[in-house]
Amino acid sequence: MTTTLPNPVVVAREESHAKPRSPRQILDWVAIHSIGLAMGLIFAAPVVFVLLTAVMSDDQAFTADLWPREWHWENFIEVFEKAPLVRYLFNSMLYSLLATLGMLLSSIPAAYALAKLKWRGQNVVFLLVIGAMMLPPQVVAVPLYDTWSSLGLTGTLWPLIVPYFLFDAFSIFLLRQFMLTIPQSYVDAARVDGCTEFQALIRIIVPMARPGIAATALFCFLFTWNDYFGPLLYTSEVKDQWTLSLALASFKGMHFVQWNSAMAVTLLAMLPAVVLFVFAQRSFVKGITFTGVKG
C-alpha cells in the first residue's frame, strides 16, 4: 500500500528531458531501469511481507504460508481497539516534533560555530562531539535515569525531549559537514557588510544550508519516531505517555504473540514517516551534499 504512493513532484523534477535517441542509448535505458526496478522491488519486498502478515488471521501470521488465505483488513481497525493508538500517535508526534525543533535551535548555532568561526579548542570540541556518539546508550542511561528521576520527570517524555534542546551530537556533526561546504567568502562578505555573526548565520548560512538542515531534521524526526529504548525506559509505567513504537509491547504476553496485530501497528507507525519522507525529499534530495554551492 505504501509502495504505490504517488510522487508526482519528484518525478517531474528529474531529468525527464533526456529521452533516449540511439539504439545503444535505448539499451542503456532499459538496462539501468531494469536494475532500478529490481532494486526497488527487492527493497520493498520485506515491507510487502509486513503488509501481508498484517492482514492475515492470527493463525496464519508468521507461518511459512506467505499469501493470506483470508484478507483481514479489519485487523487495522482492531488494533485501535486493542491499544489507544491515537493517544500514542499524539505522544509520538509530540516527542518527534519537539525534539526536532529543539535540535534545530541548539544544533544550528553550534554547527555554525564549529564550521565557520575560528577559535581555540575547536578541534578538540569537534572530536568530543563525535566521541559523544560512541558511549553505549545502555550505560549512559543508568546515571541519567537517576537524575531525571530525582527531578521527578520519569513517567513523562521530557527526559527524551529536553536533551535535544541542548545537545545532539549526530545533528551537530551532520550540520557542521554541510556548513563547511559553504564558501567562507559568503560569511566574510556578510561580516564586511556589518552583519553580526548571528545575522550572518540567519541571513546567509541558514538559507544556503537549507537542504542540509531539512535532511538533518528529517533524520532527527525519524530517529525519535522509531525510538524504542528511550520511551520504554522513561515512560513505560504511564500508559498515557506511551509512544507508537511502544505499542508493539501490547501484542506480546507471557506465552503468546499476536503477530498480525504487531505487523499492522508496525505499518501504521511507518505510514506517517513515509508520508513525511515523500513530501520532504523534494526539499533536500537535489541538494543534500557537503559540496554545497560550487565556486
Binding site: 531501469h33 560555530a113 570540541v125 553505549p136 545502555q138 551530537a169 515523500v278
Partner: protein, 330 residues
C-alpha cells in the same frame, strides 16, 4: 573550496594587532552559540561518562551504593572468554558492516542517479526499509531468509541451490545481520544520492569530450567529488556497527524459536555466541547479571578504543582531503 573535516587553522587567520576587541567579541559569539551544546554535552555526555568511569572501579549491583574494588573489573575482563568473543564479533561488524553498508548505499545511489523515469517511486521504495522499526525490520528479514519456506529459499530452490541456514549457523549469522544493515541503509543512500546529483554537469560533459566512458567518469569525477559524503558515511557506519544491539538480539532469539515483537533477551549471542556483540554482552552483564561495575568497565574500554580510532580516522581524513584538494580551503 572544499568540504572536509579539516582543521580550521587558527594561525592562518591570525588577527592583526589591535583587533583584541574583535577577538573578544568573537569569543563571546562562540560561547553564545555553543552554550546550549556545552551545557548539554556536560549533562548528557560528560556526566554519564565520568559516572561510568567511576562505576568501572566499583562493584555496583544497580541497587546498593557502588563499592570500590580498584582494578578488579579490568583484571576480570582480561580472563573473560565472553568479553573477548564480544570484542571479536564487534570488530568483525565494524569492518564488514562499514564497508558493506557504504559500498552498497553508494551503489544503489549511483543506479538511482542514472534513472530517467520513476525515480521518485524507486527512491521511496529503497528508502522504505529504513523507516521500519528495527525490531520489526529484523524479524521480517528473519522470515524472508527462513531456510525452509522463506521467500528467498523458494527462489534458491528454484535454481537448485541450498540456502544457508543464516541465523541458525554461527558462520552465517553475522553475514545475515550485515544483510539487514544493508537493507536499512536508506538514510545513507539518500545522502549519497543527493551528493551524486550535485556533481556539476559541466564536469561530466568535459570528461565525455575527452572520451571517458561512464565507468571512468564515475571513478574520476563522481567519486572524488562526493568523498566528504563517503567519509561521513564511514564514520556513521562505524558508530552503527559499534552499537549493534537490537538486530543481534532479535535475530538470535528468533533463531531459537522464541522471537517476540519487542526483542527477547533470553538468548543473547545465539548461535554459539556468534551474535554476542559488545553492546549485547555489556547489557547482559549490567542488567541480566546485575554487574553494572563490570559493564561500566567494558563501556570505558569501548569508549577509549573507539575514541582513539576516531581521532586517527579524523586526522587521516583531514590529511587525505588536504592531499586531494591541495590544502585547507574555504
Amino acid at each position: 573550496m572544499t568540504a572536509t573535516l579539516e582543521r580550521v587553522d587558527v594561525r592562518r587567520t591570525a588577527p592583526a594587532k589591535g583587533r583584541s576587541r574583535a577577538r573578544a567579541r568573537n569569543r563571546f559569539t562562540v560561547l553564545a552559540f555553543m552554550a546550549p551544546a556545552i551545557i548539554g554535552f556536560v549533562l548528557f555526555f560528560g556526566y554519564p561518562l565520568i559516572a561510568t568511569v567511576i562505576f568501572s572501579f566499583t562493584k555496583y549491583d544497580l541497587i546498593n551504593p557502588p563499592e570500590f574494588i580498584g582494578l578488579g573489573n579490568y583484571t576480570f575482563m582480561w580472563g573473560d572468554k565472553l568479553f573477548w568473543t564480544s570484542i571479536e564479533n564487534t570488530l568483525w561488524f565494524v569492518v564488514v558492516v562499514t564497508i558493506a553498508r557504504t559500498v552498497f548505499a553508494l551503489g544503489v545511489a549511483s543506479v538511482i542517479a542514472r534513472l530517467k523515469s520513476g525515480v521518485g517511486l524507486i527512491r521511496t521504495l529503497c528508502y522504505l526499509p529504513s523507516l521500519a522499526p528495527p525490531v520489526a525490520a529484523t524479524l521480517v528479514f528473519f522470515m524472508v531468509l527462513r531456510p525452509n519456506g522463506g521467500p528467498l529459499n523458494k527462489v534458491l530452490d528454484f535454481f537448485g541451490v541450498d540456502s544457508p541456514l543464516w541465523f541458525s549457523d554461527p558462520s552465517w549469522a553475522k553475514p545475515g545481520v550485515t544483510a539487514i544493515m544493508m537493507w536499512v541503509c536508506g538514510d545513507l543512500m539518500i545522502i549519497m544520492l543527493a551528493a551524486i546529483l550535485d556533481v556539476p554537469q559541466e564536469q561530466y560533459e568535459a570528461a565525455e569530450l575527452d572520451g571517458a566512458g561512464p565507468i571512468r567518469r564515475w571513478w574520476h569525477i563522481t567519486l572524488p567529488t562526493i568523498s566528504p559524503v563517503l567519509l561521513f558515511g564511514i564514520v556513521n557506519s562505524i558508530i552503527l556497527a559499534l552499537q549493534l544491539f537490537t538486530q543481534a538480539i532479535v535475530a538470535g532469539s528468533a533463531a531459537t524459536g522464541s522471537a517476540d515483537p519487542t526483542g527477547s533477551t533470553k538468548n543473547l549471542g545465539y548461535p554459539q555466541n556468534s551474535l554476542l556483540t559488545f553492546p549485547t554482552f555489556l547489557y547482559q552483564t549490567g542488567f541480566r547479571y546485575f554487574d553494572m561495575g563490570y559493564a561500566a568497565a567494558m563501556a570505558t574500554v569501548l569508549f577509549v578504543i573507539s575514541f582513539a580510532v576516531t581521532i586517527v580516522l579524523v586526522n587521516k581524513m583531514r590529511k587525505s582531503s588536504h592531499a586531494e584538494e591541495g590544502g585547507p580551503g574555504a
